[in-house]
Symmetry: C2
Subunit: 244 residues, 2 copies
DNA sequence: TGCGGTAACTATACGGCGTGAAGTAAAGAT
DNA sequence: ATCTTTACTTCACGCCGTATAGTTACCGCA
């Protein structure tokens, strides 16, 4: 059973440490999946791992630190999923990419409702997000990805947004810089469009996942499809034929 | 100091009971306003009232029951606010009513962020909403109010929604019944429109209030105004001139 | 006027929570 | 072989919701 499993560059200690950290997060996500973000508890995690709750303090300074790490991981996974769905279609297919992104978003949220709550809901009792949100990086990626979608649609859509009076100073400096570097010539109105798209998608999905739509419609999927089709149309693109 | 303050129909006991119930809720809302929904605690309420935590069990069977009552109250207050803002303008001014409703929604959310979290966020640790949401009635009112807005815009907007394939069975039976009674001739596509409008507004406002927009835009108000203007335009109505 | 019922409230207790302080045993470094 | 660091446990504190039992004060009725 004695064998060399680790690389030579990391010590055995560091390896064990990494593995234990990963296990803590894995167990925490399991608890969340079965009981919601509120059931992420140091004591429950420790119980599951055959440890004492205080042992976790060797890996995370506080429960909120653990939650922050989890939020970052889950949010990053969401961003990966969305970008993968978008990049499965050619850049030229602007409408298809928006459609793919939007459905990937809803599908992910329905498949991981507790993860969605963790990211977008009020997470847990007294959790306070550390300065400017827990996962600004992933949030930024999502926003930049949406701006990419808007940029793809801009040739057709720009004519409908000439009366917008947005300015680069209306947006986060870092975000604006990235967008201007990646899409030269794209006006600030396109970023506003991206954020509005985010609002549309997030609004319907969060209402659905958090249960506020259940009492109104029996067919949230149809509502969402309709929303996306109208969104694509409003950009001057051709929506795909409706499917049941 | 001895005087008759209550009405003859309610006993002194019942009066005190009502007052105490109201005080519990009032203190709970104060705690929420200062520390978020998570700091609504039976013990904290009792402390504030100079009582024992267990005394509250005489008024609410459980902490979740209290939370449910609070959600209902706050949601009802929101619905009142929205309807009042809408009804301040004549029915003929469809665009103005949508505008008023939308801004009342955001203004309320920004003025009562903790109330917004209570209603729309994941409320508190282990809170489980009792069968179909805590405040189905207020939720219904909001939805019906939005449908009223859609109905007001329908003469101008209907032409853009002829290709929608919504059916009355796509919506909650009770909601559909009310809508058909109040707005005869209004097609189910108008209810879908109302829900989509809700999604738009809720999406941007919840992103802003829950802090997910802060890292992207420095001017969420402008973004929201733009969203509403485009929404009104997309209905074939004339948006009001933009103001700073 | 007095008595019985009941409503309102307290006292005590249990288990669970995050977290701090102190101690222990094993692993690594020298 | 000794010293240091790491991983972990034990104990403790003050929070939490809530169950059970006991106490007090008021109300209606004789």
């Amino acid at each position: 059973m004695i064998q060399d499993v680790g690389s030579a560059t990391t010590s055995r200690r560091a390896r064990l440490r990494t593995e234990t950290t990963a296990e803590i997060k894995r167990v925490a996500l399991e608890l969340m999946a079965s009981g919601g973000p509120g059931s992420i508890t140091l004591r429950a995690i420790a119980r599951e791992m055959g440890m004492t709750a205080n042992a976790i303090y060797g890996y995370f300074a506080t429960r909120d630190d653990l939650l922050t790490a989890l939020i970052k991981d889950v949010y990053t996974e969401l961003a990966d999923t969305l970008e993968a769905a978008r990049d499965a279609l050619p850049e030229a297919d602007a409408a298809g990419r928006i459609l793919a992104w939007a459905h990937a978003f809803r599908d992910w949220a329905l498949a991981h409702p507790q993860g969605f709550r963790l990211i977008y809901g009020d997470p847990v009792p007294g959790y306070q997000a550390p300065e400017g949100g827990a996962a600004p990086e992933a949030e930024h990626r999502v926003c930049a990805g949406l701006t990419g979608l808007a940029a793809g649609a801009w040739p057709e859509a720009s004519g409908r947004y000439t009366d917008d009076s947005f300015d680069w100073t209306d947006f986060d400096e870092k975000l604006a810089g990235e967008v201007r570097a990646e899409f030269p010539g794209l006006p600030p109105a396109a970023v506003a469009l991206a954020l509005r798209i985010w609002g549309h998608l997030h609004g319907l999905v969060s209402l659905e996942v958090l249960g506020h739509l259940r009492a109104q419609t029996t067919n949230p999927a149809k509502l969402y499809r309709n929303e996306i089709a109208r969104l694509i149309s409003s950009l001057g693109l051709t929506p795909p034929p409706a499917t049941a």
